[in-house]
Every structure is written in structure tokens, then in C-alpha cells.
């Protein structure tokens, strides 16, 4: 069964770019441009991994993340933050969410992404890092 990756991103071009990469690598994708849509979608069909932007209209990615971590059965879905907000080493999740009962996201990747690093991260968090990069189905 192909893995499903949810992309939460308000910038249409970034969304299309990430979808194209992931689909060409053999993953199924679902895209949401707002947190509201993402909450509905994640309830409907829980994904295997989430790529999450931070700065989005109405509600931020951080808001989505904290809500996700309180949702029954979805706490363990790996989340990779993909954002241009801060530099890779400077991302301080606790400055956004001081509540330590909420764990930090699994990884932070800075935009623009480097495809091999991006794919490696996806595979690692899907628990596929020992498998060949292609042909996961």
C-alpha cells in the first residue's frame, strides 16, 4: 500500500512542487491550503506523514500542530515542518509552544528545500530509511 503524505501549505506553487516531488517518488499526497481544511482531512483520512508550513492564513501551522497532538489516534503521525520563517538551526519550537506536554515536531526543514535531504527525511520518519528510495508501494 502506498504511503499517504499530507502537505499543508498556502503557497500554491510550493504545494505543487512538493506534490510533484513526492508523487514522482511513489507517494500518494493530499494537499490542504488552510488549517481548517487540514483538520477535516486528517480526521477523514489519517496520513502517514505530514509536511507542515508555519505561516498560513487565519491559523498558523503551529496551531494545527498543537491541535493534532491532542487528537486521539493521530498523536504519532510524524510531522516535518517545511518553512521559510527561520533558519534551520534557529527553529525554536518552544518559543511558539511553551507547553512541554506537546512534543516538538519530528524535523524542521528550511525553504527552499534540497530534494535529496527532503526525501531522506521523509523516508527516515516513515521508517523506510533502510529501503531503497523508490518503489515503496
Amino acid at each position: 500500500m502506498r504511503k499517504l503524505i499530507m502537505i499543508i501549505e498556502d503557497e500554491p506553487d510550493v504545494m505543487e512542487y512538493l506534490k510533484t516531488i513526492l508523487e514522482s517518488e511513489g507517494y500518494d499526497t493530499v494537499g490542504c491550503m488552510t488549517v481548517k481544511d487540514a483538520i477535516d482531512a486528517v480526521r477523514r483520512t489519517p496520513p502517514d506523514l505530514i509536511c507542515l508550513d508555519i505561516m498560513m492564513p487565519h491559523e498558523t501551522g503551529i496551531s494545527f500542530y498543537t491541535r493534532l497532538k491532542k487528537m486521539q489516534g493521530l498523536q504519532n503521525v510524524p510531522v516535518i515542518v517545511v518553512s521559510g520563517a527561520v533558519q534551520q538551526g534557529d527553529f525554536d519550537f518552544r518559543s511558539y509552544v511553551p507547553d512541554k506536554s506537546i512534543p516538538e515536531p519530528d524535523c524542521y526543514l528550511e525553504k527552499p528545500i534540497i530534494i535529496p535531504e527532503f526525501m531522506k527525511t521523509i523516508e527516515k520518519h516513515l521508517g523506510l530509511s533502510s529501503l531503497p528510495a523508490k518503489g515503496k508501494g
Partner: protein, 486 residues
């Protein structure tokens, strides 16, 4: 006893009683400095006097005073009032005012004795001295000027900064002018007898600019007309310099945040460009024409975005000082209400003004405030549209309290959560997807800061937002081109 004798005895008794009970120190002294008579008060103050010389009693010394005034009275028979320092029976020094008068036993003009009546004035003398020290040493400028605007008294601090100034015209000294200054607070005090306050720039004795805040008060000497005015000024040169530095620092901090925000925007565009490149490459590899076309379109879009961003950024970064005019802030608000009322109404939003009556004019850049209000009102309307709430309204209010002029835009739209609130001024953050560049609020903040003000946001998700532009009246105009005082 005969009646005459009785009467004389009574007179002597009365005189003795009177002499003894006088509430001053009274002593009678002969030509050889001997005290021949003194009253109770004298004894109480100086102790035993019988058989002693006046200098031994008054000064506790064993020789006559070098410039004995009393001795001269024996020569010329004239009464004198002397300010003298004496020593009491406990060895305490004190100031006395002594009235010395000749006593003549015959009418030959020969002075046989002198009578000295002294009273303590130590408190008064001390007060005078304390006042002089206070006047001179108080760490601000103090001058007294007369109706001709001449300085009749100036303290040490003033003389140090402005030089020797007694008798000179105040305007000559303060500002090296040849005529009275406009907005002269002293002139107002002479006219109405009330206190007045204003801020000025003067020129010190070394030619340096001195910024000072002056308060003028009538020097009341019990006359109907104000004859003298006392001017107390604080040198605020350093304070003004610091305030300007703070403003500059705030401006620079804003520039830093803007650069960080710019980087964020560019990262998204770079993602788009990388994406386009990747899709073209993948399309070529898979011989997928549609993928190549989509990649090419993505490249085009993101090149266009780069152009737009650079143009916006250049117009944002234009360094200019506000072009200030004395305007009524209420008028600026009404212009915006008139401009946007119909547009808002078409979307079912009521745009209202809540103006402070009798608002005083203020030095503002009308174009800049117009831009700020346009940005804030347009954001507020968008927030109402996103809020999907009935009875939406946007209110622009003006206030003027405690020296702070505020213009605020309140909406009952969607509101913001904590993370959005944290980011709105720090990056090119937009909640309008591809439509906004995120420059509106940054521009607004920059313009407000250039006026010496700040912008505050209050917001609650689902309830609405309020953007408050605060302009301290004292800081308004600090960062515009310096102009000659009227």
C-alpha cells in the same frame, strides 16, 4: 509720702518692670565698654554681665571689637542698626540685629551711655543663606527678569552655560536675538500673571545649542502688576539627543526586521523557481509535455513575483522624513471614512468614525497617515469578510489623552491567534495567500515610527482586532527637517 513722690516711685517701678520685661536683649554701656545695666532677657541669653565689658559678654573675647560701631556713637551721637554675630552663655553663635542709640543725661550733646537693643535673627539669616545656596546650586537655570526683559538675577548654572548676563536682555542671552522671542512664556506671565511652560533652543556662551524646557512664574511682591518673572529652565539637550537616538534605533530595528521578512518572501519565491526547474527537468525525463508546461508557468509566475516584490520593497525602503503639516487628525479620519464607506457597505460592513470632539491640531504627514489608515481599514474589512459574521463593523476612533494622540481601527472580524499576532510586524507575513505582499502593516509601522509613534495590536481570535497608532505629542515632529523657530 507726697503725691509727687508716689508718682515718681510708680514711674520708676513701671520703668523698671518695663525694662526688665522687654522681649529683647537690652543693655546700657558706658564709654569704657562696661555694661552698667541690662534686662532679664539679656541675662537669660548672655548669662551674668555685672562688672563685665560688653565685648566679653557679647563675643566672649578679652579685647574690644576692631570696628566697634558703638564707640562711634559716643563720637557722633547717631543711632545705628548693626548686623552682628554674638555668642550666648552656652557658647552658641547666632546672628543678631542690634539697634544702638545714644543716651544723654544732659542736653549738652554729650553722649554718656549707649543703649543697645538686640534681637536674634539667626533663622532669617540662615534662610537667606539657604535660599542663596539653593538659588545658585539648584541644577537648572534660574533667572529673574524685569518688565524690560532684562535679567536682574541669574544663578550659577545659568551663568556657567550662558556667561555673565546681568542687565542684558533675556532674548539676547538665551538666543542671541535682537528682539523678543515669539511664543515668549515670560511675556505671557507678565500679561496674565500665570505660570507658562514651553520648550526652546538657545545658544550657550561657547556657541553650542542648548535645548531647554522653561517654566515662567510671576515673582509676586504684593503688587497688582507683575514686575518680575522668574524663569526656571531645565537643560534637556542630552534628553532630546537620547530620544532622537532611540527613535533612530527603532527605525534601524524595523529595517532589520524588514530584511528578515524579505528573506522569508524570497525563500518562498526560490521554492517556486526550484519547483519550476524541477518540473521541467522531470517532464523532459518522462517526456511529459504537461509537466514541462506547468513547470514553465511556475517559473514565469515566480519571476513575476520577484519583480513585484523588488518594486514594493524599493518603494517601502525609500528613506524619507515625514512632511509635517499642522492638521486636524479627525479630518484625516473622515477622508478615509468617506473613501471606504461605500466599498465596505457593498460587503455588508459598516465603516464608522468615533471622533474626539474639539481635537487639537497636530504636526502630521497627511499622506503618510492616509496610507496607514488605508492599510489598516483595508485589513479590517478583509478580517470582517473572513470572519463570516453578521453585523460586521469597522470603527476608526481618535483620542487625545495624557499628551498622546491615538488613532485606532477596530473591527469585529476574524481576529488573530497568538502566533499570527507575534508575526504580523516581524516578517513579510500575509494571511491573504498569493494576493498580499505582507508589506501593508510593515509600511504602516514604519510611517508611524517616523512620526515618533508606535503601533499596538490587540486581537482575539473570533472576536476581532484593534490596531492602535499612538503618537506622543511631545515626540511628533522630532524627526522632520529642522525649521527656524517662528
Amino acid at each position: 509720702m507726697s503725691a509727687a513722690k508716689t508718682s515718681r516711685a510708680l514711674k520708676e517701678l513701671l520703668f523698671d518692670q518695663f525694662f526688665q520685661q522687654l522681649p529683647f536683649n537690652v543693655a546700657i554701656i558706658d564709654r569704657d565698654y562696661n555694661i552698667v545695666q541690662a534686662n532679664n532677657s539679656f541675662r537669660e541669653y548672655f548669662g551674668e554681665w555685672e562688672g563685665k565689658k560688653c565685648y566679653a559678654v557679647y563675643k566672649k573675647q578679652d579685647h574690644p571689637c576692631s570696628r566697634c560701631q558703638s564707640l562711634q556713637i559716643f563720637e557722633d551721637g547717631k543711632t545705628r542698626v548693626i548686623d552682628s554675630v554674638v555668642v550666648d552663655k552656652n557658647g552658641q553663635w547666632s546672628h543678631h540685629v542690634v539697634q544702638s542709640a545714644p543716651l544723654m543725661l544732659s542736653d549738652k550733646g554729650h553722649v554718656d551711655y549707649i543703649i543697645e537693643i538686640s534681637s536674634i535673627v539667626t533663622d532669617t539669616a540662615q534662610w537667606q543663606q539657604e535660599f542663596n545656596i539653593l538659588f545658585d546650586r539648584v541644577p537648572c537655570y534660574v533667572t529673574v527678569i524685569n518688565e524690560d526683559f532684562r535679567i536682574v538675577r541669574a544663578n550659577e548654572a545659568f551663568r556657567e552655560s550662558f556667561g555673565d548676563v546681568l542687565g542684558k536682555y533675556c532674548y539676547e542671552v538665551y538666543k542671541r536675538r535682537k528682539s523678543k522671542c515669539p511664543r515668549c512664556p515670560a511675556a505671557k506671565t507678565f500679561k496674565d500673571g500665570k505660570m507658562h511652560h514651553s520648550e526652546h533652543t538657545g545658544i550657550g556662551k561657547a556657541g553650542q545649542n542648548i535645548e531647554y524646557a522653561v517654566t515662567t512664574s510671576p515673582l509676586d511682591r504684593g503688587r497688582d502688576k507683575v514686575a518680575h518673572v522668574i524663569e526656571i529652565s531645565n537643560d534637556v539637550t542630552r534628553l532630546k539627543k537620547l530620544e532622537k537616538e532611540v527613535l533612530e534605533a527603532e527605525r534601524l530595528a524595523a529595517v532589520g526586521q524588514t530584511v528578515a521578512g524579505l528573506a522569508h518572501s524570497i525563500k518562498n519565491i526560490l521554492m517556486g523557481l526550484e519547483g519550476g526547474k524541477y518540473m521541467i527537468g522531470l517532464g523532459l525525463k518522462k517526456d511529459d509535455r504537461s509537466l514541462i508546461d506547468r513547470g514553465s508557468e511556475m517559473l514565469d509566475r515566480n519571476f513575476d513575483k520577484t519583480t513585484t516584490l523588488v518594486k514594493d520593497f524599493l518603494s517601502f525602503s525609500k528613506g524619507r522624513l515625514p512632511k509635517l503639516r499642522m492638521v486636524n487628525p479627525n479630518d484625516l479620519v473622515m477622508e478615509i471614512v468617506d473613501l471606504y464607506k461605500d466599498i465596505a457597505a457593498k460587503s455588508g460592513i459598516e465603516l464608522k468614525a468615533d471622533l474626539k470632539p474639539n481635537m487639537a491640531r497636530a504636526p502630521l504627514d497627511p499622506d503618510a497617515i492616509h496610507t496607514c489608515l488605508t492599510n489598516l481599514v483595508s485589513n479590517a474589512i478583509d478580517a470582517c469578510l473572513m470572519g463570516e459574521q453578521k453585523g460586521s463593523e469597522v470603527v476608526i476612533a481618535t483620542r487625545d489623552e495624557k499628551g498622546i494622540l491615538t488613532i485606532q481601527v477596530t473591527d469585529n472580524g476574524t481576529g488573530m491567534d497568538y502566533e499570527i499576532k507575534k508575526k504580523i510586524f516581524t516578517t513579510f507575513f500575509t494571511t491573504k495567500g498569493g494576493e498580499g505582499t505582507g508589506l501593508g502593516l510593515l509600511t504602516t509601522r514604519k510611517l508611524v515610527q517616523e512620526h515618533g509613534g508606535k503601533i499596538i495590536v490587540e486581537s482575539k481570535k473570533g472576536e476581532g482586532s484593534r490596531f492602535i497608532m499612538e503618537f506622543p505629542r511631545k515626540r511628533l515632529g522630532m524627526l522632520h527637517e529642522e525649521t527656524e523657530e517662528e
